[in-house]
Amino acid sequence: MNAHLSGILFQLFQSLLVVLIAPLLLGWVNQCRAWLQNRTGAGVLQPYRTLRKLFHKDAVVADNASPLFRVTPYILFACMWLAAGVVPVLATDLPYSPAADVIALVGIFALARVFIALAAMDIGTSFGTLGARREMLIAFLAEPALLMVFFTASLISHSTQLPTIVEALAHKDFALYPSMAFAAIAFVMILLAENARIPVDNPTTHLELTMIHEAMILEYSARHLALIEWASSIKLLAYTTIGIALFVPYGIAEAGNWAALPLALVALGVKLVAAGAGLALLETISAKMRIFRAPEFLGTAFLLAVLGMLIHFLLGA
């Protein structure tokens, strides 16, 4: 009973933690980008200031908006929160994680995407529709690649449950997995595409014609926009932690080992800082590509993930 209760407490702690530090990760990535571009930057806390500003404003909603348009920000936020709560970030025994394995996790992301695309089309502006179509083009190519990455990890650990995968990779004898190297490259490419980062989409653009994610949320304001922005930052954090869980899970607390928790927190902090800096570097050295090059980019990601699986079958590692 006591173990059960502490598990639930721990789940609550982790869920709150991921929601609260998600804007911090985004702020860190933006700050690193600013430094790399010889700018001073707005500081790592800027996303929190933006969120506070947006929550204090009055919401303006278009006349012809349906209820779908109003509920979408909440659905989006809930989906991302659920996804981030399921990923083993600090320890591998989360009472909620049996609720969704990696395939269901992809489904949760897809659900959020369907709603945001529908809401973008709901108002009937041409930019919203354009953004929604582009988002769907990117998503339908990125999703199979993401599944392939997960399958490669599942083949090694014989399970589609993320905590089991992490246990198998983190607490067994150290081994080099060439298949996971392929999966890791594919995963980074998918992360860039799914989170509207630079080679595929530019999160800071003001040109509507080149927008993907931004075009979909043009009509949102105030608290709705704040929730969507917050959800996007949680999505980035969720993807980063999935990447950490799959490819560098070392340092995560074992099931039931509460003494390892402070170490796990430090390890997570170091890994997130490194991942954020790496993401900023990647975004700085690459240029945004034409929208019609995106299928090629994601096709390459899919190919790499499939190659990882094939290599697993050939080498058994």
């Binding site: 060439p178 090629e296 190919l303 190659l307 050939l314």
Partner: protein, 220 residues
């Protein structure tokens, strides 16, 4: 170095070799193609060195040295010189578009892995698992030669194919005898020189390095 760690390292390098083969297949720029070729030579050198250290086969040290000198230093240098002299830095034109080429590539990899499976079971080397990857590299380079229109990428494909063959030899039988290896190395070098002269001849005759001009017969 323990046998299991070096086997893992060789597997990783083999996977890297396959990755570079795919990168070459999808590369549009000649300069990057040459750099990728140099990287492939580097990976080959390191993997040969690891096999040499693990199995203490002395002739493998020499072949690693030859590989490094020839495929990482000399050949990329000659290629860089060639494209500077020919002044050809254009994008590579492909006959089929790149995503379809990549799909063909995956099919070739599956074919190569299946082909290597029975041979792998006969071999007793620590690197036997990588034979499939070596065959896949040969086939992918072959595909690259087929799908490129210009002369220089085709030659790079030819050289990359030799890399794959060398890797196959190392993984199946711990390399060929040194005399054979020296002979092949010399062949590749001389071949490169002759092809370099050919480039100039082709350009002088047709004002272009596009090989489709050579398909037509002139009657004068």
């Amino acid at each position: 170095m323990s046998a299991s760690l070096s086997a893992q390292l060789i597997n990783l390098l083999a996977a890297l070799l396959l990755l570079i083969a795919f990168a070459m297949l999808s590369q549009r720029r000649v300069l990057s193609l040459i750099n990728l070729f140099a990287w492939q030579g580097m990976v080959l050198t390191v993997s040969t060195l690891i096999v040499a250290i693990t199995t203490s086969q002395h002739h493998l040290y020499y072949s690693a040295g030859i590989t490094f000198a020839l495929k990482v230093v000399v050949l990329p240098w000659i290629l860089h010189r060639l494209i500077r002299k020919l002044n050809v830095k254009w994008d590579v034109e492909t006959l089929i578009n790149i995503p379809i080429t990549m799909l063909f590539g995956i099919l070739l990899v599956i074919f190569a892995f299946n082909l290597a499976l029975p041979i792998t079971q006969l071999a007793g080397t620590i690197t036997r698992g990588t034979l499939g990857i070596a065959i896949a590299c040969v086939l992918l380079s072959f595909l690259m030669m087929l799908t490129r229109r210009k002369a220089i990428p085709q030659v790079i494909g030819f050289l990359a194919m030799e890399n794959g063959l060398f890797f196959a030899a190392t993984s199946a039988t711990y390399g060929m005898p040194l005399v054979v290896e020296l002979g092949i190395a010399l062949d590749v070098l001389v071949g490169m020189f002759i092809l370099g002269i050919f480039f100039f001849q082709i350009r002088e005759t047709f004002d272009s390095l596009d090989l489709k001009h050579m398909e037509k017969l002139k009657d004068e």
